[in-house]
Subunit: 143 residues, 2 copies
């Protein structure tokens, strides 16, 4: 198996906060919504192509992130999606949405508006993730 | 438990083709992409709120539909998403996408272009689903 490499576009659009059991955990650099991305360290581009045990790990991670977002943010709805039209590498968006957010009720994908995070904001989010998620390991950059 | 009722907007936008193990299987009435929707007959609006055994059934249905779409259509990517900003009732989109389709690489949600299916086309798709999916029961309308 070749070494896993994060897609360059994901790398430039997001902060790579750390690692869950099987996925890298990214934060989209757009403070207009709590927008997290799981990137399973696998070669397949589609969820259905993965072995059951890998799917189970990803499902568990989605559940953990979903609970985290609804606990830490005010949300009316979660948007959970594996799209991959622009970045082929398998990645799952988990986005907390509110009825007053920047593009409600439209989807965030393709919406132009953006507000970058400060370093301190990213560190705060990372700390909260570390306190909430048992299987999350923080990258040194964000400790 | 109250009787499950399909959301009126899903009902008007889609054909309800039949029933999987836990979900109703819908076809979006837009022939510009193979666009299926699973509507689990549950009350929760979010996947993470469901018991593990229900999640497993939904995951199995997503896998079956994903395989069906990639076998029956030419696709470059699957888009699998639980959004629910407009229709709150839990529903999972599974859409086969190609690089030459009507809105690539954008997402289908919010795209305006539309081509309705003929009755015969819907019946053909339903027949293929029946031949491919072990747990699929066709609604009488489409036999």
């Amino acid at each position: 198996m070749t070494e896993f490499r994060l897609d360059p576009k994901l790398d430039s659009d997001c902060f790579t906060l750390g690692k869950m059991q099987i996925s890298q955990l990214l934060l989209m650099n757009n403070a207009l919504a709590p927008w997290f991305i799981l990137v399973p360290e696998v070669e397949a581009a589609e969820l259905y192509q993965l072995d059951n045990d890998i799917q189970q790990q990803i499902l568990a991670e989605i559940n953990q992130l979903s609970e985290f977002i609804t606990q830490e943010y005010i949300t009316d709805k979660l948007n959970v999606a594996a799209i991959g039209n622009i970045v082929n590498q398998l990645h799952i968006h988990i986005v907390g949405r509110t009825k007053s957010d920047f593009c409600w009720p439209n989807v965030v994908w393709g919406a132009d508006q953006k507000k970058t995070y400060s370093d301190q904001e990213v560190k705060n989010i990372t700390r909260k993730l570390k306190n909430s998620l048992a299987t999350f390991t923080v990258l040194e950059t964000y400790t």
